[in-house]
């Protein structure tokens, strides 16, 4: 279907299912593709969120600290600095995170609503604030992935709409892909439009279980926000659902009677007895210092698929166990497993790399689809119409410029002085200024050159990272290989691998498609100039 789409697009009077699905698949992919590509890249990076954060604070060295010590040290610090908070959410360190992270919420004040405080990073052994450069770390990519740097709730809603478009695109794509088995292994290089179609099909079909899973489970992660209605159908108050589903005690109101918070060590020990020795991953303290204070311990999920942890709640003032989470019913367990599959916390290191690779395949699926849209509609002898030029420029901006932006975020971490106030925001700004700035500058170049140059820049940016790391810190690639610091060594090597990938893309972008080979049995007229062979496959009449 090499017809230039008219705008406004004609209504689809088609009856054939494959054709209507092909039509809607192209529109869904086109409208959501640019944002989806960014969600895929930042989401894929987020599988290494703690590692990225560690790399971005090279001053810190991880030391394993028992849960009781880390928890009590953090609580002591919070009691010393902000004893009148309403809630402390304490994430204890583990084998991937070297610090104790605390999210504190102040008591609500109707006259002057308290500002949302940023995450606190504390030394796990002493509970003191960390002496390390201030940075968002991997949290930035993670939050961008589902909030798109937009104010709440618009970012999450937009991400949700894009995820729904993705789900519908997957379903329509499968329906429309006629030769799904015949073309399963087909990947032809340098054949122009055919190659892009092959690449789009291959990246989509070969990892189809992953793409379908990640899209659907992604929607489930924010289902409470996207689809609260089934809860409202059964429960007048949403808290009633939470209690019925997870057994969490309703948020207890502070009584106003002060009572000191008991040490958490014995509580953690008691929980360990119930949980066959497992330590808690998270400690939630509500109304500390009050007689009605509660200490909720959330179990580390370990290798279990269900991401919803077991929990036990103790009274903070008396140390008695108040409640524990019930074992979930099948639906709640299903939701928990879906959450777990999306987050991938259960995965060990090699399975996490599988997630990473498949996530990149997802990005490739979206990216090749966007490029295919343009390549299909470009006619060799006609000037490109406005829509085509617009889509091609957006493609360059969304696909080729984002990697440079992400590299810039990491480079900024090394180049901005560690003690500079507000450096965390500057790092984030570096990513967006680079991404959008590069996209704007690329408008000045012809499209083909823009692709090559932006991809070359991404190659340089990623290749520069290990160099800048070695120059600005004492944990460069050689040093970390020598000391067996696998996190830093692996990170630098991964940056080099990504640089190689971008370089390969730039190289491929600079090559022309092969002229079609003429079969020996066909006698070509001697004077005829070669014309590009028409695309015979009407498969996927896109």
């Amino acid at each position: 279907m090499n017809v230039r789409p008219t705008f406004p697009a004609p209504a689809p009077p088609v009856r054939a299912l494959r054709q209507s699905m092909a039509w809607i698949h192209a529109w869904l992919g086109l409208l959501a593709g640019w944002i989806l590509f960014a969600m895929f890249l930042t989401g894929t990076a987020s599988y290494f969120r703690p590692e990225i954060t560690q790399w971005m604070q090279p001053e810190l060295r991880s030391a394993s600290v028992p849960a009781e010590q880390a928890a009590q040290a953090a609580i002591n610090h919070m009691q010393a600095t902000t004893p009148d908070d309403q809630q402390w959410f304490i994430y204890l360190p583990d084998d991937r995170t070297a610090v104790t992270r605390v999210f504190a919420r102040a008591k609500p004040n109707p006259e002057k609503p308290p500002a949302r405080r940023p995450e606190l990073k504390l030394d796990p052994a002493t509970g003191q604030s960390l002496e390390a450069r201030d940075t968002r770390g991997g949290e930035h990519f993670y939050r961008f992935h589902f909030q798109l740097q937009l104010p709440h709730p618009w970012g999450r809603w937009l991400a949700g709409v894009c995820a729904m478009f993705m789900l519908a695109a997957i379903i329509s794509g499968v329906i429309t892909h006629k030769r799904i088995f015949v073309d399963f292994f087909t990947l032809r290089w340098r054949k122009g439009q055919r190659s892009w179609l092959d690449a789009h099909n291959a990246s989509a079909v070969l990892a189809l279980p992953f793409h379908a899973m990640i899209t659907y489970t992604g929607l489930i992660t924010l289902v409470a926000m996207y689809m609260p209605w089934p809860v409202k159908a059964n429960f007048d108050k949403p808290d009633a659902f939470t209690t019925a589903a997870y057994g969490a005690p309703a948020e207890a109101k502070a009584t106003g009677t002060p009572a000191p918070l008991l040490p958490v060590g014995p509580m953690i020990e008691a929980a360990g007895r119930t949980w066959s020795g497992d330590a808690p991953r998270t400690v939630v303290i509500r109304n500390p210092g009050d007689a009605a204070s509660t200490v909720t311990l959330l179990r580390a999920t370990g290798g279990r698929l269900n991401a919803r942890p077991d929990s036990i709640t103790f009274s903070g003032a008396t140390g008695q166990e108040l409640s524990r989470s019930p074992s979930p019913g099948p639906a709640i367990a299903t939701a928990g497993v879906m959450l777990g599959l999306h987050l991938g916390h259960f995965a060990g290191p090699s399975l996490r790399w599988v997630y990473f690779f498949l996530g990149l395949t997802g990005a490739a699926m979206v990216g090749t689809g966007l490029v295919l849209w343009v390549v299909k509609r470009r006619k060799p002898n006609a000037a490109p119409f406005f829509g085509l030029k617009l889509v091609e420029r957006l493609n360059i901006g969304a696909i080729a410029c984002l990697p440079s932006g992400m590299a810039a975020y990491l480079l900024a971490n090394r180049l901005i002085p560690a003690g500079l106030p507000g450096r965390a925001e500057l790092e984030v700004k570096a990513m967006f200024w680079t991404w959008f700035g590069l996209a704007a500058v690329s408008l000045l170049r012809p499209a083909k050159r823009a692709w090559i140059e932006t991809l070359c820049l991404a190659t340089l940016a990623f290749a520069a990272l290990p160099v800048v790391n070695a120059v600005t810190t004492d944990r460069g690639l050689i040093a970390s290989l020598r000391t067996g610091d696998w996190l830093f060594a692996g990170f630098d090597l991964a940056m080099l691998a990504i640089a190689a990938l971008c370089g390969l893309a730039a190289f491929k972008a600079s090559r022309k498609p092969q002229p079609p080979k003429r079969k020996a049995s066909v006698r070509a007229p001697a004077t005829a100039s070669p014309r590009p062979a028409p695309v015979k496959e009407s498969v996927d009449a896109l």
Binding site: V182, F185, L305, L341, L351, V354, Y355, T361
Partner: protein
């Protein structure tokens, strides 16, 4: 994470690919079994890769790991097959031979 499942999946997909006429053409000097034999072998190996993963890791994690490794194996095979088909075939054979050793290590 045990890799035997992925190696067996890789071999399985190679068999299924070579059972198709269009992918056999790059391997002239090699004598391949018939299309039918390869197709049956491919499906059997795919089932074996699932069994291996579930046996080692239990149903939930096993199925997850099976699917994950299967997708990676398929993607890598397609890339390799489009670039160097003979290498892909050789790798499939080597992988299949190594898999039992990994399984019982």
């Amino acid at each position: 994470m045990p890799y035997e499942s992925g190696l067996v999946s890789f071999a399985a997909f190679t068999c299924l690919a070579l059972a198709m006429k269009k992918h056999r053409s790059g391997l002239e000097p090699l004598v391949l079994p018939s299309e039918r034999v390869l197709r049956v072998l491919g499906w059997c190996l795919l089932a074996l890769s699932a069994a291996v993963a579930v046996f080692r890791l239990g149903p939930a994690l096993g199925v997850t790991v099976w699917i994950g490794q299967m997708c990676v194996a398929a993607a890598l095979l397609v890339l390799l097959l489009s670039w160097r088909p003979k290498a892909a075939t050789a790798l499939a054979g080597v992988g299949l031979i190594c898999a039992p050793f990994l399984a019982f290590l």
